[in-house]
């Protein structure tokens, strides 16, 4: 399926404009759901830069959400006199830098692992970060951190964060799209398909993997900073969440692993299912998520986009009978 870049940009701008109208027409509950959808979509695309393109599925990206959020919160608390919008930018910068440093440092041992070993080692990283955050007094993880209100006075906070998430998701999508189109992106795909061969053919696999890891971590961390601001108050448990770790994989799996728009579709679908359809059945939540996972793996390993693709292929075959 080939879409010309211009058409893709047009489509993205159009759908973004449509989504931006959301807060004007939706009831408050759905604005909240919309926020969560856009936040999840942003995270899912940030995850897919490493997990989908390079095939390094991380099971611990909540580490970066947490590190970004706490780094931003701790720094912002020391600059309480600054104007709120600047404070948010400061938080984004600090959160991004901290995630970049952390991910670059752990990339050396961690990226030596492949496949499921990498996935679970990342889970370990997220647990270690969460425990350090919770137990070292300096980070105030168990007490919790307050975030200043950054929404301008004349805009409803819910609407403001909805737009902010939309903007963030678009930026992440744009970055991922540019990566996908570039030589770097082609290198990442070659790593996913066969890392040893790619290396033999001269792809700088180590450098590319590390770059993808750092970019993915920074974007995830910055989304975490926005998330923390929209919550207003965070503890360790509210940002280092194992269900986030899992969801990030499920978004891609649901939408289509390795594709650009698959994670967005997956995130929208899963958030809608869990928040709107299962919203009143909290006891049933784990079970439903588990069942969804099992069905997905067994019935649709390619996700929604995979199903679409097989459907089109089938039609094309039907249209042109075998020679």
């Amino acid at each position: 399926m080939k879409i010309s870049p211009n058409l893709a940009v047009l489509f993205m701008v159009a759908s973004a404009a449509l989504l931006a109208l959301g807060p004007f027409v939706l009831p408050p509950f759905y604005v909240r759901v919309g926020q969560l959808m856009l936040y999840s979509a942003g995270l899912a695309v940030a995850w897919t830069i490493l997990g989908g393109f390079a095939g390094y599925a991380s099971f611990g990206h909540s580490a970066f959400i947490g590190v970004g959020a706490f780094a931003a919160g701790l720094v912002e608390a020391r600059f309480s006199g600054v104007a709120p919008p600047l404070l948010l930018l400061l938080g984004l910068a600090v959160g991004g830098i901290c995630c970049a440093v952390l991910s670059a440092a752990i990339s050396y041992p961690i990226l030596r692992l492949r496949g499921t070993f990498f996935a679970i080692a990342m889970l370990g990283v997220s647990h270690v970060c969460a425990e350090l955050n919770n137990n070292v007094d300096f980070f105030e993880g168990s007490l919790g951190l307050n975030f200043p209100a950054v929404a301008p006075k004349n805009i409803e906070p819910a609407t403001f964060f909805y737009w902010l998430y939309l903007l963030a998701a678009l930026v992440v999508l744009l970055i991922a799209w540019q990566i996908r189109r570039s030589r770097f992106g082609a290198g990442l795909l070659s790593i996913r398909e066969d890392e040893d061969t790619a290396r033999m053919l001269g792809v700088p696999t180590e450098r590319y993997k590390r770059m993808a890891f750092v970019i993915s971590a920074v974007l995830t961390g910055q989304l975490g900073v926005i998330y923390a601001h929209s919550l207003g108050y965070i503890t360790t448990e509210s940002v280092y969440r194992d269900d986030t770790n899992l969801s990030l994989i499920v978004y891609s799996l649901l939408g289509g692993m390795g594709t650009l728009f698959g994670p967005v579709i997956g995130a929208f679908m899963l958030v809608f299912i869990t928040q709107v359809i299962l919203g009143r059945l909290l006891d049933f939540h784990l079970f439903a998520t588990g069942l969804l996972l099992v069905i997905l793996v067994l019935a649709a390993p390619g996700g929604v986009l995979g199903l679409v693709r097989t459907f089109r292929l089938g039609r094309r075959r039907a249209a042109a009978p075998a020679e």
């Binding site: 425990e131 799996l253 588990g290 099992v294 793996v297």
Partner: protein, 291 residues
């Protein structure tokens, strides 16, 4: 001196249990190349079954061991044959996520059935203890360690000398060659899974005797099993024992000398360190399967 001897003794006991809890995970990974994220839930299932059986039959929880192992053997066989087999030959990530989905569902069911509260099956004789030199041993912990070691030896002998063990090892080494020699690989996969589940259940009983447990503990036991396997090496009881003892020592020493909330941190630091200096695990080839 006293304190360090006591800490090391506690670490030994804990390590034996870690080893038993991890050996099934290691076996499944070595033979099927599946990361079984529902391993922890199978461990807990063993503990809860022991709770039910020991209440229903009013016997000591340790005596329910054969019964629990038999039930979990059957559960493991069916689980592998009807669910995991469909994902085994596709992608590793797929089978891993499948087991994770099952773990979530079972955890939810456990919360419905047994409530999310802590339970325990500590037997009446749990609080007797004896001294060896200056070191204090609880009867319950020593019997737990003893049971773990016996079970690990049984598994090692089973793998080494029985016909089933030979077939399992052959399948692990060269699936294709084993198939050519007439091994029914699907059946062996299912049997391997069944044996692993049975040992997970046994570990559950022993854990339940020492520590209280709740449905949300499953992730801890899965992660522990993973770390043990990475430390020790894949697929052998000896590797699991080495990894388990190492992990047990490290966590008790950390809890004693650094702080009670840091064992996981040191555990994963150790893991990362080991990956740097010896990326294949201490014994054997932990990472060949990941490449």
């Amino acid at each position: 001196m006293n304190l360090i001897a006591q800490t090391l003794a506690d670490g030994l006991v804990l390590g034996g249990i870690y080893a038993l809890a991890a050996v099934g995970f290691s076996l499944i990974f070595g033979v099927l190349h599946v990361i079984n994220l529902s391993h922890g839930i199978l461990v807990l299932l063993g503990a809860y079954l022991a709770l039910i059986f020991s209440k229903a039959l009013s016997i000591d929880p340790l005596l329910t061991l054969p019964l629990v192992m038999a039930v979990l053997f059957a559960v493991g066989y069916v689980y592998q044959r009807f669910l995991i087999q469909h994902a085994v030959d596709r992608s590793q990530l797929g089978s891993m996520l499948l087991t994770f989905g099952v773990a979530l569902m079972l955890q939810n069911i456990m919360i419905w059935v047994f409530s999310p509260d802590m339970k325990n099956i500590t037997p009446s004789w749990a609080f007797t203890s004896f001294h060896l030199g200056a070191v204090n041993f609880d009867a319950v912990r020593v019997s737990a360690l003893f049971a773990s070691l016996v079970l690990l030896c049984c598994l090692a002998l089973l793998l080494k000398f029985s016909a089933l063990g030979r077939v399992i090892r052959a399948t692990a080494q060269q699936t294709m060659a084993a198939r050519l020699c007439g091994v029914n690989v699907r059946h062996v996969y299912a049997l391997t899974f069944a044996v692993s589940a049975a040992f997970a259940g046994a570990a559950g009983i022993i854990i339940g005797i020492i520590l209280p447990f709740s449905p949300s503990d499953e992730a801890t036991w899965t992660l522990n099993a993973f770390v043990v396997v990475v430390l020790g090496g894949v697929g052998s009881p000896a590797g699991a024992l080495l990894g388990g003892l190492l992990l047990g020592m490290v966590s008790t020493l950390t809890a004693q000398y650094i702080g009670p909330s840091f064992p996981n941190v040191t555990m994963f630091l150790l893991l990362v360190l080991l990956l740097l200096v010896r990326p294949t695990g201490l014994l054997g080839n932990a990472f060949s399967a990941s490449r």
